[in-house]
Symmetry: C5
Subunit: 354 residues, 5 copies
C-alpha cells in the first residue's frame, strides 16, 4: 500500500488547478458513453470527443455521460470548460489520489468515490477512483478505466425498470453511488471469508505465514474503512438536505445508502475485533508450542541424567567399588535405575505434563 | 459470525426498493395473528392473507398485526401496498441483514430490532430480526420466525393487565421494544455466568480451549453491544420527542427502555474489561508454567551434570589415577559428590526455586 | 461481580411499572425515620407505616423521610400513591439494579445513587442503592438497608449547624448527595492504599497472586468509575439549572459536588494508569526470572559438558590411548580441563551473566 | 503518588463550606505581601493580619495581595469575610486537593492552579496549589508555602517594565497564570532530558531499573498533563470572553497562555508516545537476551552431546569392541568426532547463530 | 526529538511580548526579498533593512516581503512596529517553538506553519518555522533560514502563470501555505518508502536495529501529524469564512489545502497502523526464532541422552555384565541404540518439528 503515495510528488510546485494525471499510466483511447432518457424514451451513444457529447445535450431529457479513462487530460479539461467546472474540480478529476468527498460548487456537486475490488487470481484489493458531476438534468461520471460497476444500473435504465427513468439527475447520482457501495459489501464478504479460512488454519496448524495473512487482511479492512468513512460523513449531510441539488424525494434513498455505509463500517469494526483476537490466539499458540517442546526436553533429560550418573558411578575405575564383583550388585543397580525412572515419570504425571 | 455477511451479495445490482428475502431459507407458511382491542374489548384472530387482515381493521379499536415469517416476499409486498409503506421499507423488512434503526416516514415509524437468544443445547447466540411499523392506532410487527418473545405482552393484552389496553399504539410499540430489550438482560446474564465459569477454569487448570472460550464470549459481547448501541441512539431521540407519533405520556416509558439499553451497554463494557483481564491472566499463567518447567529441568540438570563429571573423571583409563586403588579415594569422591549436590540444593533454595 | 446481573431476569415479561423487589432477600422490618425542621424547630420521629408518615407532613416545615429497607414492596407502593409518584419511579425504587440517574417528573425529581464501601474484614467492595425523591419542601430517601452514610448530615440538622436548616429541600437533597460522594473519596483512598501495598509486593517478590490482586483492584476501580460517571453527567445538568426544583443559591453547591465527582473520576483514571504500568512490570519480571533460570542452567551446562567430554575421551577403552600410561598425561588432561572451565567463566563474565 | 489522596478523608461528614486545611502540616507564620501600584506609583508592604491588608486597599490603585501559607485557617476565613468570598471558595482555598479550575462568582473569579517543580536532589516532582481571586482592581493569590514562582513578575512590577503597570487586575491575574505555566515548560524539559538519559541506558545496558524509571517518568507526565488539561479548558473559555471581569485587550494574552497550555499537552503526548516505544524496546531486548543465552547453551550442548556419545561408545566394556586394539581405530574415532563438531558448527553458521 | 524542548526555558520569567530569539543560533545576515506585482507588472528586489522594505510599499500593487532569517531580533521588532503588529506576534515570530496556528488580530492574520524535510545524507527529519502576516494587499513571510520551499511560487509570480497575479494577498498567502503542505506529501512518501524497506528487512532477516528503525519512523510520523493536525483545524475555519481577510473566491482554494491536510493525516494514520503491525510481526518472529533454537537443542539432546545412557550402562565396571563377553551382546546393544534414535526421529517427525 505505501506505494500509492509515491505518485503524488509529481505535482509538487505546480500552480493549483493545473490538471496533471496522477495515477498509473494508460494509453487506451478514452471511451465516452452518453445515455439520454425520459420516462418514455431512451437513447444510448458512444462518442469520441468532449464536443460531441456536449452537442448531444437537450433540455427535455436527463443525460448521463460516462467517461471511461481520465488519462487524456486535454479531453477532461475541454469537458471542464464546456460544462463550466471549476479548475480545482478538473484538477481533482485527473488526480487519482483523492479521498472520497463531496463538494458543493453552487450549480453543481462534485463527488469523489473509490471503487474496490479483488483482482482475479491475485488476492490483493484494487481500488479505482470515480468522480461524479451532478448538475440539474445532467450527471457526468469519470472512471479511471472501463469497469462493470455501473452495468446493472445501465441495464435498469435500458429496460425502464425501477424508479430511475421517472426521477431526476439526483436519483441517477444516487444510483451510481449505490452501485459503488454495493461493491463494498462484496469486498467485506470476501474479507470475512478469508478471515474464516485463516481462523481454521489457526486452529489446525498456525505458521508464520498465518500472522502475515492476518495483517494483510487487516490492512485491507483499514483500506475499506478509509474509503467508506468519509462517504458516510457526506452522505449524512446530503440526506439531511444540506444541498439544493438533491430533491426531497431522493433524500430517503440517500438515507438508505448512508445506512449501508454505516453497516459496512460496523462490519469492518467487528472484523478487526475478530482479527485482533486471532493475533492474540496466534501469539499464545506460539507460546504453547514452546511449552510443549520444553516439556519433551525436560522429561527426557531429567529421566536420563540421573540414570547416566548411576552408570557413571559404576563406571569409575576404583579398584574396590562396592558390589562390583557380584551379580547382585549389578541387579541392585538396575533396580535403582528403574525406580528413579518410574519415580520421575510419576512426578511428571502428577504435574499433568503428559 | 463472519458467515452472516455472505448473504448480502444476493442483492448486488438490483434496483433500490426491490424486496428480496435475504436470510436463511424457510418454507413454513406465514402465520398472521391479528389482535384488536379497546379498553373494554379484546378480539384475537389468525388470518391467512394480507387482504384478510386489512379488512379486519376498524377505526375505533387499536390493532396489532403480528406477522411470523418474512420469507413470503409477495405477502410482505401486498401488505406494504395495503398499508402504504415506502418501497424501501418493504425492502428492509425482508432483508434480515439490517442494523437496528428507526426511520420516520411522516405517517409511520419504521423500527428495526434484533432479538438475541441462546440456542438450547448449543452455546451459540442466535439473532433474529423484528421490524415494527407504528401508525396511528396500528402496530405491525414482522418476525423472521415464530418466537415467544412477545408472549408476555400478548398475555397482558388478553387479561387487560397493566396500562397497555388503555393507551395508544405508541405504547404498544413501546411494549414490543421492551420485550426485546428484556431478552438482552437474559443474554447478558448468561454471558456473565459463562465468564464466571471460565474464570474458575482459569484458576484451576487453564488450557488452550480456555483462551478460545474467552474470545468466543467476547465475540458474543461484541454482538450484543452492536445490537443495543443503535437502539440506545434512536430511543434517546424518541423519548426526547423528535417524532410526532409518540405521545407525551408514552415518552417517559421510552426513557425507561432507553435506560435499560444504557445499562446493558455498560454491562457489556464491564464484562469486556473483565475478559481482557482474563486474557492477561491466561497469558501470564502460560509464562509461569514455562518457568516452572524450566526450573525442574535446571534443578535436575545442574545437580547431576557436575556429579556425572566427577564419575567421568574417575572413569578415565589412566593407569595412575590418584586414589584409584584405595577405598579412601572412593569414599572421598562420594563425599565430594554429596557436597556438590547439597550445595546446589542450597543455592536453589536461596533463589526460592522450590 | 458478574453475579450482580443474575437477578434482573426475575422481572422479564412483567408489565412496566410493576414494582418487584430485585436484590438480596431481607426480612427485617422497614424503619421509617421522619425529620421535620424549620430554621428554629426540629422534630425527629420513627414511624411504622407509610400513612403515618404522610400524616406528619405540614406545610410550614421541611420534611425528610428516610426509608431504611426497600424489600417491603407494599409499603413502597403505598408511599408511591400517597406522594403521587409515577409507577415507573416506584418500580425503580425497589429494583436495586439501577444505574445512577436523575429523572425530572415535573413536580418531583427522582435521583438514584450508589453508595460504596469496603466490607470490614473482607476486602471486597459492597454497593447499596439510594433513591431520592425531591419535592418542594419534601425529600424522601430510600436505602436498601440501614447505614451510617447520612449520620453526619442528620447530626448537623439536629444541632442546626451549617446552612442546612435555613435552606430548602433542594439543599437537603444536595446534602444527601454530598454524603454519598464523600464516601467515594474514602473508597478511592482505600484502593490507592492497596495499590501501594501491591506495588511494594511487586518490587519484593511478585507471585501469581500479585497479578490477581492487581486485576481485583482494577475491577473495583471500574465499579467506582461506573457509579461516579453518570453522577457527573446529571450533576452537570443540575447545576447549570436545567430543573426548576433547584434554586439559584443551591446550584453553586451542586457545582461543588460535581467538582468532587470529576476529581474522583480523574483519580480512578490515574490509578488505572498506575495499575497497567504494574501489570507490565509484573510481566517483565516474569520474563526476567526466566532469563535468570536460563542463565544458571546455561552456565553450569556449558562448563561441564566439555569437561565431561574430555573425561569420556580418556574413558575410552582403546588399548593404545596416547598418554594413558604416564602421570604427565593425566596432569596435562587436568590442566586442559581447568583452562576450559576458566575460559568459559571468562566468556560468561564478558557477557555480564554474573 | 497514591499517597496524595489519603488526606481528603479528614473532611468526610463536615458541612459544606467548612474550611479545613487539607494538606501537609505546616507551622510557619503566614506572610502576607501587599503590592499597590498605578502606572506611576509602586508600594510594597508585608503585613501580619487580614485586617491590615484590607485597610491598605485604596480605590485609585491596583492591589495584589500575596498570601504565602494557607494552613492558618482563621486568617483565610477572616480574609474570606473581608473580601466577601463565598464559603465554598474559602473551603477550596485551604483544601490543597483541588483540581485546577475557574469559577465565576459574579463579582469575582476564583482560579485554582497547581505549580509543579522538581525537588532539588531528589528526582521527584513536587506540586503546590495556588488560588487566585480576581476582583475589579484587586488580585489575591494564596500559595501553600513561600515560593519563587512569582518573583519575576514582582520584579517587573517593581521596575515598571512591560505592560503590567499600565493594565488592570485581569492582566495581573494573567501574569500570575503565565508564571505558573512557564514552570510547566521547565518541568517538561526536565522530563524530556530524563527520557533521553533512559533512552541511552536502554541502548547500552537495560536493567529492571530501566523499566521502573520509564514508568516513573510516565507517571510524572500523567501528573503534568492532569494539571494542564483543565487549565486549557477554562483558559479557552476565558479568552473567548465568557467572563465579564476579563477585558477585551487582556484576552489576547490569555489566548497566548492557552496556546502554551496546548503546547505542553502536545509535548506530554509526544513524550508518552516515546515512552511506550521505549517499553516495547525494553521488552524486546529482554527477549533478545533470552535468545542469545539459549543460543550459547544450544551450540555448546549440541556439539558436545554427540561427541560424548562417541566416547561413551568406546567406553563400553565389551571384550570385543571393533577397532579397540588398533591405533587406527583410535584415530578413526577422533576423525569422526572432529567431523561431527565441524559439521555442527557449519550448521549453526548457516542458521546465522554466530 | 526531546532536545527540541530544551530551548524554551530561556524565556521563563520574561514579560509577555518580549521578543527573544529561541532557536538554533545563526549569524548570517538576514536577506529580505520584496516582490511587488499587479496583473501586468512585476518587480523583485532585495533590501537590507526593515525601513527600506516599508518604503517600497505602494497602494496599487500587491507586496510580498520574504524575510529569510529571524535571529536578528532588532530587525523583526522594527518591522513589527512599521507594520503595526501586536507585541505577542513579534514575540511569536522569533520563537521557533510555536505550534502551527492562525490568529486573527482584526486587521491582519498571523499564521504559523512548520516546513518539514529530510536532511540530505542523514535520515533525520528537519523542521523549520514559517510565519505569515496577511494584511490587505500585503503578505510578509518569515523563515528561519533561506530555503527553496517557496521557489515554485516565486517562479509562477515571475512568469505570471496561473491565477496568482490576478488575485489578492489572501490568494498569495494560500499559495505559500500550499507550498508548505506540498512538502508534507514528499515527506509522507519518503516515510512510506522507508517503511517498505524495513518491511522487506523484516521478512528477510529482522535484527534489533529493525525495531529501532520502526520506532524512528513512527516518531517522524508523530512529528508530521503534530504539524498537520492544527493546520487542518484552522484551515477548516478559514475556508468556512470565519475571517474577514479571506475573500469568497479564495475560500475554495483553502478548502483544497484543507483537503490535502486531511489526506496527509489519514496517510500518517494508515502508516502508523502498518507500523504497529510490523512491531507485532517483529516480536512474533523473535519468539519463533527462540522456538527454532529450542527445537534443535531438544532434538539433539533427546536423541543422544538415551544413547549415552546405554553406552554408560555397558561402561559400568561390573565383573559380570550380561553379554559383555560376546560379540552378539555388542551388536544387540548397537541395534537397541539405532532403534532408540530412529524412534525419537519418528516422534519428532510426527510433531512436525522438522
Amino acid at each position: 500500500m505505501p506505494r500509492s503515495y509515491t505518485r503524488r510528488s509529481k505535482k509538487t510546485g505546480l500552480a493549483p488547478g493545473s490538471a496533471v494525471h496522477v495515477g498509473a499510466k494508460r494509453s487506451e483511447l478514452v471511451r465516452i458513453s452518453v445515455i439520454q432518457y425520459t420516462e418514455d424514451t431512451f437513447v444510448e451513444k458512444t462518442v469520441a470527443s468532449a464536443v460531441d457529447c456536449h452537442a448531444l445535450e437537450t433540455a427535455s431529457a436527463m443525460t448521463w455521460i460516462d467517461v471511461n479513462g481520465i488519462h487524456d487530460v486535454d479531453l477532461i479539461e475541454k469537458m471542464g470548460n464546456l460544462y463550466q467546472l471549476h479548475p480545482l474540480t478538473t484538477e481533482d478529476i485527473v488526480n487519482t489520489e483523492q479521498r472520497p468527498k463531496m463538494e458543493d460548487y453552487g450549480d453543481y456537486l462534485y463527488i469523489v468515490l473509490k471503487t474496490l475490488g479483488h483482482v482475479k487470481g491475485a488476492g490483493n484489493l484494487d481500488s479505482a477512483q470515480v468522480s461524479l458531476i451532478l448538475k440539474r438534468d445532467l450527471v457526468i461520471s469519470f472512471q479511471e478505466a472501463e469497469s462493470d460497476v455501473f452495468d446493472s444500473l445501465r441495464e435498469r435504465l435500458r429496460k425502464g425498470k425501477g424508479r430511475v427513468r421517472k426521477m431526476g439527475s439526483d436519483y441517477l447520482a444516487y444510483g451510481l453511488m449505490d452501485c459503488v457501495v454495493d461493491r463494498y459489501f462484496t469486498v467485506a464478504e470476501a474479507l470475512s471469508d478469508r478471515i474464516e479460512e485463516v481462523q481454521e488454519e489457526l486452529v489446525r496448524q498456525p505458521s508464520r505465514g498465518t500472522l502475515q495473512d492476518i495483517y494483510r487482511i487487516r490492512h485491507e479492512l483499514v483500506l475499506l474503512r478509509k474509503f467508506v468513512w468519509p462517504l458516510r460523513d457526506f452522505l449524512s449531510g446530503m440526506w439531511r438536505g444540506e444541498t439544493r441539488l438533491i430533491e426531497e424525494q431522493t433524500r430517503i434513498y440517500l438515507r438508505d445508502v448512508y445506512d449501508h455505509a454505516v453497516q459496512i463500517i460496523e462490519t469492518t469494526e467487528t472484523l478487526r475485533e475478530t482479527l485482533s483476537g486471532m493475533i492474540d490466539i496466534y501469539l499464545s499458540s506460539v507460546s504453547n508450542r514452546m511449552n510443549e517442546i520444553m516439556k519433551v526436553l525436560t522429561i527426557i533429560a531429567t529421566i536420563f541424567i540421573p540414570l547416566t550418573f548411576i552408570t557413571g558411578f559404576y563406571g569409575m575405575n576404583f579398584d574396590k567399588l562396592p558390589g562390583k564383583d557380584s551379580l547382585e550388585g549389578f541387579f541392585a543397580t538396575v533396580v535403582v535405575m528403574l525406580s528413579v525412572a518410574i519415580g520421575m515419570l510419576c512426578f511428571f504425571r502428577s504435574k499433568k505434563w503428559f
